[in-house]
Amino acid sequence: MSVEEFQPRIIGFLCNWCSYAGADMAGTSRMTYPSNVRIIRLPCSGRVNPMIIFKAFQQGADGVMVSGCHPGDCHYVDGNYYARRRLAMLEPFLEYLGIEKGRFQLEWVSASEGKKWSQVVARFTDTVKSLGPRGKI
């Protein structure tokens, strides 16, 4: 890895019950993936308030990811459905603010999908890398 290569700053908001556990699973299975993502643990993807995502971008995050339980599997019955709707509404807003498509991603990773988590991170890191640095708004 060259020193000059751009290393994006990515924040991941993960629900405690599926995706955070899935990321743990990637660890226990010793899968390796790019180190750019910093995980913030939340009880549910439905806890994610769009304001927090705006703030992350405003503060200079290059990419933001939200990951929850698969639809239908929410620990809190239907929190991820609210997340899905709310964040689907958010995407066009982000573009309106000049944040390119691809810098925000919503994912479903279950507690057993360590492999999927590592793939999701690798792919998202690549995408954000290709979009280049953003800087503060």
């Binding site: 990321a23 990637a26 660890g27 995980i39 549910c44 806890r47 503060q59 809190y76 239907d78 709310r86």
Partner: protein, 665 residues
């Protein structure tokens, strides 16, 4: 300014082999509020925990960050350690630098170290905003409600009652017993079903700790574990069960006959009836739909035209203790219980969607449960197996497996689990009833997993000469008195045609009528078919995601009698565990609503999956208040509120933002 202590765990070489701990320690010292940094080989070990405790006391720490493995691993361990040093256990935060860092970035130690520093930085920022939180104690009502009086519900009720707790057993039908009561014999032991079930039913009715409410349904449930407020509708029976002696004169003399539900339509019952002779309670109810007097009343009431039905009332005239009460009304019974067991059981698939099997139009194509009634000594034919069309004894009987199971096209892709075994049982018993009977079974696979199950299906084939044909049936048609069954024997690869006298459809298992409504009343989840969803399919098979509500038996999925009994017992064990406590402690990581910001829009209470938000009047308006007993701390209300009135303890906006800001200053 908080005094934060940071403890860096090496986890042997698990962390320290990748993350450069001294570099992290140096960096952490610079973070605002950090007054103490230490590292340890194994923080979770007793010496590691002792070091944490001592450091908290020696350095006057009031916030702790432990940089170690996943909080899903040791959060509780470290909360206890912090608590032992006299600190509130919720003033601690874990930075996950093992699962999320050293283990997944072993290919780049430099980057891993850098990431570890940032993860600790986030935790330091967040912990600084932590508040002291306290678990609350709530009282426990030492009484349980069991919904459904089949074998699973009966077992659960008896186990709880035997442990010394009060139980209310609610059953929708006029008797308990459920599906098992309809069966003749049980596989693979061929025990007489009634002989092993009836004593349990009697135990229920005589148990001092059980209050049995039959002909009743749960209408409303509010509250939370320890204190569920339950409303039960006791439907009017029009027979006073206090004075009724169960002598039976009314149902012997009632002139109105209708197809009996318990007999699956193979026999009849009267309008005033008990479903079967061993019913518990053995006192009748009057079915208002078929009763002549009720028809008469309806005729008068609606001023209908035509022939007036007779105002019969024969039961009333003949009843020795005068227990018939036409004025009886539905009664609402209110109870408070600490825990609830849902055991609403199953029904069999309605095969009329299978047009190729006659769509329910061919009289001698019957269901397995109908055959069970025909074989039963106390059934409508007193145990004589006869064809519904002409009353003759069938000599060639064909069984069709998987009717409404393993069939995507009919919306039932799952295996009903019990059919392979009961077909083998019924085929074997037909031969016992009449040695001249030849049975054929069309099957997809013989699923005989279970103690003595495989041996049993072998016995049916080898000793009783039941012929198994691997394949599906494409058509059944009537040819004179015979039923022609056209199918395929896929093992010889040829179409086969059998001239049968009777065809038995092994109809699959589906949730009882109204199971989804019960789930909605209790606010527990159910799947696309209407089966209840357990909290974890393997590790929490009788719990639901709502504390204090348990599930048992075939309402969760197809299962046989031994499994249902085990399941009922397991649910009872959980209930007994709960009821043995005098109080419960609640997790304090709940939502709280700032009354001054609440506009009373109700959005949060509509979104809340646990109905944990109540509306209370305050200053001339209604505002939302969180019921901490019900709140699970998901935070949906926080994200939904337009005026940011709710916040989630432990995950406030400020705390989440502090983590973001720690990363992107």
């Amino acid at each position: 300014m908080p005094r934060v202590g940071v403890f860096l765990c090496h986890c042997g070489t698990n962390i320290a082999g990748v993350v450069d701990i001294p570099t992290v320690a140096e960096a952490v010292k610079q973070f605002p509020g950090v007054v103490y940094v230490d590292d340890n080989k194994f923080s979770c070990s007793e010496p590691g925990q002792a070091a944490i405790r001592q450091s908290i006391i020696d350095n006057g720490l009031d916030r702790v960050v432990i940089s170690a493995c996943s909080p899903r691993m040791h959060e509780i361990t470290f909360r206890k350690a912090v608590s032992a040093a006299g600190l509130n256990p919720y003033l601690m935060e874990i930075a996950n630098i093992r699962e999320h860092c050293s283990w997944v970035h072993s290919d780049n130690k430099e980057a891993a170290t850098e990431k570890a520093i940032e993860l600790v930085k986030m935790a330091v920022a967040k912990v600084s905003l932590h508040q002291e939180l306290f678990r609350k104690r709530i009282s426990m009502e030492k009484k349980a409600l069991v919904i459904g009086g089949g074998i699973a519900g009966i077992q659960a009720a008896l186990d709880i009652a035997n442990a010394g707790h009060q139980v209310i057993l609610v059953e929708r039908e006029p008797t308990i017993g459920g599906r098992m009561a309809q069966l003749d014999k049980t596989f693979p032991t061929l025990d007489c079903s009634a002989c092993i079930l009836s004593p349990k039913m009697v135990d229920v009715s005589q148990h001092p700790n059980i209050r049995l409410l039959t002909y009743s349904e749960v209408e409303k449930v509010q509250g939370f574990v320890g204190n569920f407020e339950v409303e039960i509708r006791q439907r009017a029976r029009y027979v006073n069960h206090t004075t009724c002696t169960g002598c039976g004169i009314c149902w012997q003399k009632c002139p109105e006959k209708v197809p009996g539900e318990f007999e699956e339509g193979t026999g009849q019952r009267t309008s005033v009836y008990i479903p079967f002779p061993q019913a518990v309670p053995s006192k009748p109810v009057i079915d208002t739909v078929s009763c002549r007097y009720f028809k008469y009343l309806d005729f008068i009431d609606k001023k209908m035209e035509g022939k007036k039905p007779p105002p019969c009332r024969i039961c009333e005239k003949l009843c020795p203790p005068q227990a018939i009460d036409w004025e009886q009304k539905d009664e609402i019974i209110r109870e408070t219980v600490g825990a609830i067991v849902v055991a609403t059981g199953f029904k069999t698939f309605d095969h009329s969607v299978y047009g190729e099997y006659g769509g329910g139009r061919i009289p001698d194509v019957i269901t397995s449960l109908q055959l069970e009634r025909l074989m039963n000594a106390s059934g409508p034919t007193l145990g004589e197996v006869v064809r519904p069309s002409d009353g003759t004894h069938p000599k060639t009987v064909v069984f069709l497996s998987c009717v409404g199971s393993r069939d995507e096209a009919k919306g039932r892709p799952y295996c009903s689990k019990i059919c392979c075994m009961y077909m083998a049982k019924q085929a074997l018993m037909l031969k016992e009833h009449d040695p001249g009977v030849q049975s054929y079974i069309f099957y997809i696979d013989i699923r005989a997993g279970g103690k003595d199950f495989e041996e049993f299906t072998r016995r049916a084939q080898e000793e009783f000469g039941v012929l198994y044909l691997r394949g599906r049936v494409s058509k059944i048609y009537q040819d004179d008195k015979k039923l022609m069954v056209c199918g395929e024997d896929s093992l010889i690869g040829r179409p086969v045609e059998i001239a049968a006298d009777m065809v038995v459809l092994a109809t699959g298992v589906e949730p009882s009528e109204g199971a989804a409504k019960v789930a909605q009343t209790l606010n527990i989840s159910y799947d696309t078919y209407g089966f209840m969803v357990e909290a974890h399919p393997k590790l929490r098979p009788v719990e639901t995601n709502t504390d204090g509500i348990l599930v048992a038996g075939a309402c969760v999925g197809p299962r046989d009698i031994p499994d249902s009994v085990a399941h009922g017992g397991a649910a009872a064990a959980k209930v007994i565990g709960l009821l043995s406590q005098d109080t419960l402690t609640t997790e304090p990581l709940t939502a709280a609503i700032d009354a001054s910001r609440c506009t009373g829009c109700l959005l949060c209470s509509q979104i809340c999956p646990f109905q944990a938000i109540d509306m209370v009047p305050a200053n001339g308006k209604s505002i939302a208040v969180v019921n901490e007993g019900l709140c699970k701390g998901c935070g949906l209300c926080v994200a939904a509120c337009r005026s940011t009135a709710p916040s989630l303890k432990g995950y406030t906006d400020a705390q989440i933002l502090s983590e973001v800001l720690a990363l992107c200053p």
